[in-house]
Amino acid sequence: MFLNIFINRLKINIRDKQAIGWSLLFSLALGTLFYCAFESIYKNAVNTVVRTAVVLNAESNTFGDMGEILKTIQYDDGTKILDIVETDYENALLLLENEDEERAVKGIIDLRNIEDIRLVLSGTKNENGEIGNAGEIEDSILSSIVGVFRQYSLMISETIKNNPERLGEVLKSLERKTTELIANKSISGGNKDPYVTYFYSLITMMAMMAMMSGAAVVESGQADQSPQGARTEVSAVNKAVYEIAGLLAVCVVQVSVTMIGLCYLVFGLKINFGADVTYVFLTAALATILGISLGFFVYQFSNISKKARENILMAIVVGGGFLSGLMIPNMRTIVEMKCPIINRINPSAVITDAFYALNMYGVGERYYKAMIYIVGLTVVFISSGLILSRRKRYASL
């Protein structure tokens, strides 16, 4: 019975041209658009060394030797990313304005106030300027590095203000991250291609889009959702068996769709994900299953209208995407400080965190932790969905 349902649900999903078509079109079209938009930046990004002035004082090294950390950041082949000139702010500005290409710096990283790390780029020429010369890869590299340092300092200062008792814990965690930076697991992948995060976001969105297939399993198996559901419910089949077989079939198809999209990005467009690509595929597969389980769970609440359920799913995807930093890069860190539980239960944040960990630190403790969250959330959504389905009694059809 299980096999019969699985095989037929597989056929239904494979032949659902609209669902598969949109998922594929989304990944292929958006991937191509991103690629076209960033292609030139991509080519220039390879092993660019950025001559940078760093302004330090005694406060700068409160949480570690910042100048030393910046010097050790390097590409996979060992090339240093930054060519550091440690100097005072006035001299740094002179270097920024210097017309001699050899001596000039592309930007100034001002670490004098650790709570307010500033980046001054060539072309902006003022202390508050961060806008820089749009389109220059050096600006993007510097922005990415400063972004990471800001996240660290924000976490520390917020902890001091709100949870001073957790400071030791946070510092220990940052120390580990800093060590990882120095040990070259580092942001090297991220720096090599600062735009890879857009492609990670694309994979996250593809995974979340799979939720509609999870919803379709519920729709086709419950009497109040479709005529096919009514026919299934009056049959002799165990509801849980039906739903598990249906979910399995959906997972096979949707994970395949995600893999095709990812193959196009990796082998077609030759996007360098800056991490072991096997793990990118693994993360994308598990993320897709998480998306399916979310749709399966939300659609169990059939006492609310179909339109409302669709809106809830969209709100989770868009709102969750916003909170996970898919739209504003620092948002995930802010949420982590204010209400960390959201980052644990927000599917987009959990997936983003896994990709972030993979890209920034490679396969390690943080990545495994993120993967455990993905699997954990999937299990919670599916088991809750099955329980809700089992207990369902219809007052009206």
């Binding site: 019969n4 349902i5 037929n8 056929k11 009514a230 009056v234 002799a236 007052a395 009206s396 059809l397």
Partner: protein, 315 residues
């Protein structure tokens, strides 16, 4: 004596303020073609959904094959087939795959299932369409596929919930013939409809319901025997005086006369030669008429007389 297949006692189902089933009871014997007749919104489909444990109900008891019906009774469900008024098939599966899929929800053995599916397709004359996808089928063929999906596992009790809605006359006849055939093969049938002609043709036991209540129950002849009207004589007359109408009212067995739009309707209770008496009167009075004919009462007349309203909205 035949076994009781379905027994419903004092069923009450409320939708907030609305009482959909009001202490409704019915009993169906093995081998019957049981007609559940009533206007739209009378509670037929609610009764069927409660029977199948799809809907929860507020009060009452339902027994199928002598055992209490509950959502988890898959053993009982495996002996029931349902053909709903909505076509419930998957557009992405072919005709054969659809029947095989739904049959597979009951029959585990692949070989047996294959045989059952072939038989079901043959039964509804869809064998030549086996590789077609539902979207390529006409409305009538789609209804037949819907039936094949509901009966392929050879159930003992088959529920047809308005299976001929929006079906052309040719396909409708085919469906009705099929149901008769299933009954002859031993299946007990529950047939819900608001088409009285179908119920008259198919069912050997009929229950008429309205507003969630049983109005009348019995065989077709028993139901017709419940009402005063046994025959209506209808005459197309262009001119008729009031005194003629009064005199016709006085004819033997006549209890009601109406003259509207040049049509004279004379309702009779009992008597075997009512049409002859009316024709003789008109001849004696030198009243010209175009056409005269006799109508025996229908289920609609039964419903009309009991409730004072038409069973089916004029289409």
């Amino acid at each position: 004596m035949s076994k009781t297949v379905v027994e419903i006692n004092n069923l009450v189902k409320r939708y907030k303020e609305l009482i959909a089933l009001d202490n409704f009871s019915m009993s169906i014997k093995e081998g019957e073609v049981f007609g559940l007749l009533g206007p739209n919104g009378s509670g037929k489909t609610t009764t069927i959904n409660c029977l199948l444990s799809l809907l929860s109900y507020d009060k009452g008891e339902i027994k199928i094959f002598g055992e209490k019906m509950e959502p988890k009774r898959r053993d009982i469900k495996s002996r029931i087939g349902v053909v709903s008024q909505n076509v419930a098939v998957f557009d992405e599966l072919t005709v054969y795959e659809n029947v095989d899929y739904f049959c597979g929800l009951y029959i585990k053995d692949k070989k047996t299932r294959k045989q059952y599916v072939e038989e079901a397709l043959e039964f509804v004359s869809l064998t030549e369409f086996r590789k077609f996808f539902p979207k390529k089928l006409s409305g009538g063929l789609l209804r037949r596929l819907n039936i094949a999906c509901g009966i392929a596992h050879k159930p003992e009790l088959i529920i047809f919930d308005e299976p001929t809605v929006a079906v052309d006359p040719q396909s409708r006849n085919k469906i009705l013939e099929g149901i008769e055939c299933l009954n002859k093969k031993g299946a007990t049938i529950i047939y819900t409809s608001h088409y009285m002609e179908e119920v008259e043709q198919l069912c050997n036991h009929i229950l008429i319901m309205d507003k969630g209540k049983k109005i009348a129950e019995g065989s077709l002849s028993e139901l017709k025997g419940m009402i005063k009207n046994t025959e209506s004589v209808v005459v197309n007359i262009r001119h008729l005086k009031d005194e003629n109408i009064e005199e016709i009212k006085k004819l033997h067995h006549v209890y009601d006369v109406k003259y509207m739009n040049n049509i004279l309707t004379i309702k009779c209770s009992g008597g075997k030669h009512n049409i002859t008496h009316v024709a003789e009167y008109l001849k004696n009075e030198n009243i010209d008429y175009d056409r005269i004919y006799s109508e025996i009462p229908t289920l609609n007349d039964v419903f009309l007389e009991i409730t004072g309203k038409q069973l089916r909205d004029k289409e």
